[in-house]
């Protein structure tokens, strides 16, 4: 008799023959799978891979997305395919896909959230979301989902990547491979679910007041051009910076927004407008916010990894998790380096033991556990499933 809930992960190299089949076979350890979650590097043969998985799983609901690197208990990988299966009667699943999301991000978030089932005997619920990582205002998606779910249901997930090409990310739903969409799985479980959110970055120096901002753009800080203020805080003479210099600086020097409780919310500076002297972020930085220049080092980031994992285990009330999903910001990968991320994953497995782990390097992380805000950068988000 299969267990009431089970969690398994299979992986394969995308270039291997029948990679989808092999990964699915490894994940489908019982025949009562309820949901497949697929993370995959952008690959030419994506339709084939999805087809191979579906040939094994049949009509089991499937969601997923492309990545900027995949994570399993074996370590971080590129060019691989990771298939996670949740199974057993302890899970009740609903899925949704909303195409053309950029036309109405809030509406897309709301429609995606409506897939969450609410069977009375499955009290623990979470909405798992994958969005297009190149969409600028991810907060709108979170607002839409929150307007449907309210405060009682947390959200977790990641923004799809494309191996840092920054051209097009894809989302998966059933047999469909979509772009510019929101895919979601509403997970209701008889067992508890825990979410950990940490970035490990520290605020340094004096705070700056956001005196002018627009969608995904900071115009002015402390009533001066945002680019100049940002560079001055970093000790760089504004006249000497060019786009390449800025990109290098921005990767390791995000800005952080203060929050009422918990860590600052980190915002990744993707580029700057040297004409208008403004900064471009991948999410909103509201006017009136206090922001700090953030700094981090490998040690702090790895500590955050430990903290995220352990805080995700806290709600499980001592029960051993069945498995863990991790959404790790691709910028952290930049900070840690290739060796660092291997270490990071081993730090995770140190916490989890030999339980299954699946995750991906994302263009933004979704985790709403308190307050309304749920979109993060430079952050590791962990979902522990018991």
């Amino acid at each position: 008799m299969p267990p009431n809930r089970w969690f398994a992960v299979g992986t394969a190299d995308t270039s291997a023959g029948d990679a989808g089949g092999h990964a699915a076979d490894a994940a489908l350890i019982h025949d009562d799978a309820k949901l497949l979650i697929v993370f995959c590097s952008p690959a030419e043969n994506l339709p084939d891979l999805i087809g191979q998985i579906r040939s094994r799983s049949g009509g089991v609901p499937l969601i997923g997305c492309t990545t900027a690197g995949e994570i399993t208990a074996k370590g971080p990988r590129d060019s691989s395919l990771v298939v996670t299966a949740l199974g057993g009667d302890g899970f009740a699943i609903g899925t949704a896909a909303v195409a053309g999301a950029s036309e109405d991000l809030r509406g897309a978030g709301a429609r995606a959230a409506r897939c969450l089932p609410s069977p009375p005997d499955h009290p623990h619920r979470v909405l798992l979301l994958f969005t297009d990582g190149l969409t600028t205002d991810q907060d709108e998606i979170v607002r839409g989902a929150y307007s449907v779910l309210g405060a009682s249901v947390p959200m977790v997930g990641g923004c799809a990547g494309d191996g840092l090409k920054m051209t097009r990310t894809l989302q998966f739903h059933g047999d469909d491979i979509l772009a510019d969409s929101v895919v979601a799985a509403g997970i209701a479980s008889t067992g508890p679910l825990g979410i950990g959110v940490r970035h490990g970055w520290r605020a340094v120096g004096e705070p700056m007041l956001v005196t002018g901002s627009g969608p995904a753009r900071v115009e002015s800080l402390d009533d001066r051009p945002a680019l100049d203020v940002y560079l001055e805080h970093l000790g760089v003479e504004p006249g000497r910076a060019d786009p390449d210099v800025l990109t290098g600086l921005a990767l390791t020097n995000p800005i952080g927004l203060s929050r009422h409780s918990g860590e600052e919310q980190v915002r990744f500076i993707t580029s700057a407008d040297f004409e208008r002297r403004s900064l471009t972020c991948n999410a909103q930085v509201p006017e009136g916010s206090l922001v700090w220049l953030m700094e981090g080092d490998a040690g702090a980031v790895l500590e955050a990894t430990d903290a995220a994992c352990s805080s995700s285990l806290a709600p499980l009330e001592g029960r051993p998790p069945l498995g863990m999903l991790a959404f790790d910001c691709v910028a952290r990968r930049g900070v840690l380096g290739d060796q660092g991320i291997v270490k990071e994953v081993s730090r995770v497995t140190d916490v989890t033991g030999d339980m299954p782990l699946a995750g991906f390097y994302s263009y933004g992380e979704i985790a709403r556990t308190h307050g309304m805000r749920g979109h993060h950068n430079y952050t590791l988000v962990v979902l522990s499933v018991a």
């Binding site: 309210g150 009682s152 409780s261 006017e287 309304m372």
Partner: protein, 717 residues
């Protein structure tokens, strides 16, 4: 931290003011307040009405719980879903009236002082934004209502204008209908009604030309009326009333005929050559036609056309088909009535003509007389230039037996006309059926040539079939090409049947007369043979016997007085028998008639009759033997009747010859009342007269004597 406070308020204000409606301003306000203050729940509540709320599952904001949060200074708690009861921060709103802004969050309890101030600032902004949006919403609603009203007004105005236009149209349609109806009511001729229809239809649709055509058999149509509308250019139309046109495949007329629905043709590009010819002939630019339905069938069509001669000619406007169809439908009854009346009148004329001819046939008038009557009737009936009756001869020629023509021409009664060229006469001979032609021709001496020379172009005819054989043909000719009305052949055929009957009757009568003549002649010949046999046989032998008796009488010795007396008596008896025999023989056939002729025979007869007879015989000489015999026996019978039955005291017999007729008149002063039905005497006389083709007239009123007039043709008829 006032700068931060201000910036946060500015950011909040920017978001809330960007909302498009009062409701979305409220929702944006609670969401942005919750985000700014890191709260899970925010709501605007007005009494028990939740204006906006965030943090609750969709549609599940707890109105009851939220409405309990009152601004009495006490600390209220509300339940944050998934988290539990937390203190709620509350700020009253200027707008909506009586509303409260409520906010609750997890984490460290309560708002800091600056956060409280920010929330109040947000509440003020929210009130202003919602009030403004409310006004804007009202304004927008008012404007939308006003726009809707304006649109509705414009629509009403358009509708009104359209209705007025339609009313004007209807009024002109009614006027047009009234004009046509007036004509119909006045029982105007069909052609006048059709002309009116064509004109009114054209006028109604502001076309240049209106036309009424009638569909005929064999894929043809006949122009019933054609009218120019805005000009007086009818005379210029190269198309005339009565002209027959083919219904061209692909034409508007063909479409109407096939579909029974109105149809239009706006372009004549790429049409057949024949259709293009018609277009060029009439200068058509755009044409619409609608069917005229009479008695459930497509009788014809009314068409209206825009001509290319019009300045800037364009197609007829959309919807014209239906207007024409409506107009035509309303007129169909009138047309149908007019047509019915016209058909009825024509039928009546035809029936009258047929009846007159049939009467002539019944009274047995001579064929020549009948033929004259038929050709006259037919010419008038068919409104033809000429009508004629011809007989096919054994030598392959025809003889014109009768003809009637317009006063302007005279059809000669010719024989040996040939059938060369193109003529209905030839066509009927080859097919044995009715035929028509629109283009007569032929060399001199032919039927086609003869009538062509008389100015005729078209013709129709039907065969005269007598007892199964093609006997002749009846023809009608017209001066114009294509002038033969549809159905003409059938109308002619009705006459040919009567003529055939008459011819058949005449032939039978001739045969009967010949048969009777043969009987009479045989009887007369028998009488002559008997008379000759008596004269040459018995009479001669009796005479010989009488002579021998005289000889024997002379040889009787004297003293034999008794013997002599006996022999003398026998001799007298013998003479008496001889006389009697001679008398009998004379009665059988008077020898004097054969030997001396009618005059002497009648004088001999008169002498021997018991009634005084006055003879008045002209110089008649010898006549044909049957005539002499007939006249002799008629007088003999009349004298016998006068003596035996009429108690006449005198009989007058007049005999004379006029032209080729012997006229015999016998009058007595007897009792009269002679009736052919009562005695065979007169019937015998009638037979003799009939056998010779003569006439017998008996006038015998009781008490006024009997008058008998007989005419006998001297030449066989």
């Amino acid at each position: 931290m006032s700068a931060r406070f201000t910036q946060q308020l500015v950011g909040f204000l920017g978001a809330v003011w960007s909302a498009r409606t009062e409701a979305s301003a409220g929702l944006t306000a609670v969401e942005r307040a919750a985000e700014t203050l890191d709260a899970e729940v925010a709501a605007i509540v007005c009494g028990e009405h939740v204006v906006a709320a965030v943090g609750y599952p969709e549609g599940a904001a707890p109105a009851g719980e939220l409405s309990l949060v009152v601004l009495d200074g006490a600390v209220h708690e509300i339940t944050i879903p998934g988290i539990g009861a937390r203190p709620a921060a509350c700020v009253s709103l200027d707008y909506p009236p009586g509303a409260t802004f409520i906010l609750a969050r997890s984490g460290p309890p309560g708002l800091r002082a600056d956060e409280g101030a920010l929330l109040r600032g947000m509440a003020r902004v929210t009130s202003m934004a919602m009030r403004t949006q409310h006004l804007l919403d009202d304004e927008r609603a008012a404007r939308e209502k006003s726009d809707r009203q304006a649109t509705e007004n414009a629509r009403l105005l358009t509708e009104l204008t359209q209705r007025q236009e339609r009313l004007t149209e209807l009024a002109s349609e009614q006027a047009a209908l009234r004009r046509v109806a007036t004509l119909v009511a006045a029982q105007a001729a069909a052609d006048r009604i059709f002309a009116a229809v064509a004109e009114e239809a054209g006028r109604l649709l502001q076309a240049d030309m209106g036309m009424v055509v009638k569909f005929g058999p064999e894929g043809c149509m006949t122009v019933q009326a054609i009218q120019a509308i805005w000009t007086k250019a009818e005379a210029e139309f190269p198309l005339r009333v009565g002209e027959r046109l083919p219904v061209e495949e692909g034409s508007m007329a063909a479409q109407v005929l096939r579909s029974g629905r109105p149809s239009r043709r706006d372009t004549y590009r790429g049409v057949s050559i024949r259709l293009a010819k018609l277009r060029d002939r009439l200068g058509l630019r755009s044409t619409i036609g609608a069917p005229i339905m009479v008695g459930g069938r497509i009788w014809g069509l009314v068409s209206v056309s825009v001509l290319s001669s019009r300045p800037e000619p364009g197609p007829l406007p959309a919807g014209s088909e239906q207007r024409l169809a409506d107009f035509t439908e309303l007129l169909a009854t009138a047309i149908s009535n007019a047509q019915a009346r016209s058909d009825l009148a024509r039928l009546a004329e035809e029936q009258a003509a047929l009846r007159r001819v049939a009467t002539l046939v019944a009274t047995g008038v001579p064929p020549a007389e009948l033929f004259d009557a038929v050709t006259l009737e037919m010419r008038l009936l068919l409104n033809a230039g000429a009508a004629s009756l011809m007989r096919y001869e054994a030598d392959g020629t025809v003889t014109v037996l009768a003809a009637s023509s317009d006063p302007g021409i005279r059809v000669p009664l010719l024989s040996h006309l040939t059938l060369e060229g193109r003529s209905v006469t030839a066509a009927v001979l080859s097919s044995g059926r009715t035929a028509r032609t629109d283009d007569l021709e032929g060399p001199p001496g032919s039927v086609g040539g003869t009538f062509r020379d008389l100015g005729m172009r078209s013709a129709a005819g039907a065969p005269i079939v007598v007892e199964g054989g093609l006997w002749g043909v009846i023809l009608a000719h017209w001066r114009d090409a294509q002038a033969v009305p549809p159905g003409t052949e059938d109308r002619i055929a009705q006459f040919t049947q009567l003529v055939a009957t008459a011819i058949s009757n005449a032939a039978s009568q001739a045969q009967l007369a010949a048969s009777r003549a043969r009987i009479v002649a045989t009887a007369d010949e028998t009488r002559r043979r008997i008379e000759r046999d008596l004269h040459d046989g018995i009479q001669q032998r009796l005479v010989t016997l009488a002579l021998e008796l005289r000889t024997v009488q002379g040889a009787v010795p004297p003293g034999q007085a008794d013997l002599l007396a006996t022999m003398s008596h026998a001799g007298d008896q013998l003479i008496s028998i001889l006389d009697e025999l001679r008398e009998i023989s004379h009665g059988v056939h008077p020898a004097i008639l054969s030997q001396s002729g009618l005059g002497p025979a009648l004088r001999s007869l008169a002498r021997r009759t018991s009634v005084p007879t006055v003879l008045d015989i002209g110089a008649i000489g010898r006549l044909p033997q049957p005539v002499e015999a007939a006249a002799y026996y008629i007088v003999s019978e009349a004298l016998t009747n006068a003596a035996k039955h009429a108690n006449a005291t005198v009989v007058h017999v007049d005999l004379d010859i006029k032209d080729t007729t012997l006229r015999l008149s016998i009058n007595d002063d007897g009792d009269g009342g002679a009736d052919p039905a009562r005695g065979s005497g007169i019937i015998g006389l009638i037979d003799r007269v009939d056998a010779l083709g003569g006439k017998l007239m008996l006038h015998s009123p009781p008490g006024e004597g009997t008058s008998l007039v007989i005419e006998l043709p001297l030449e066989p008829g």
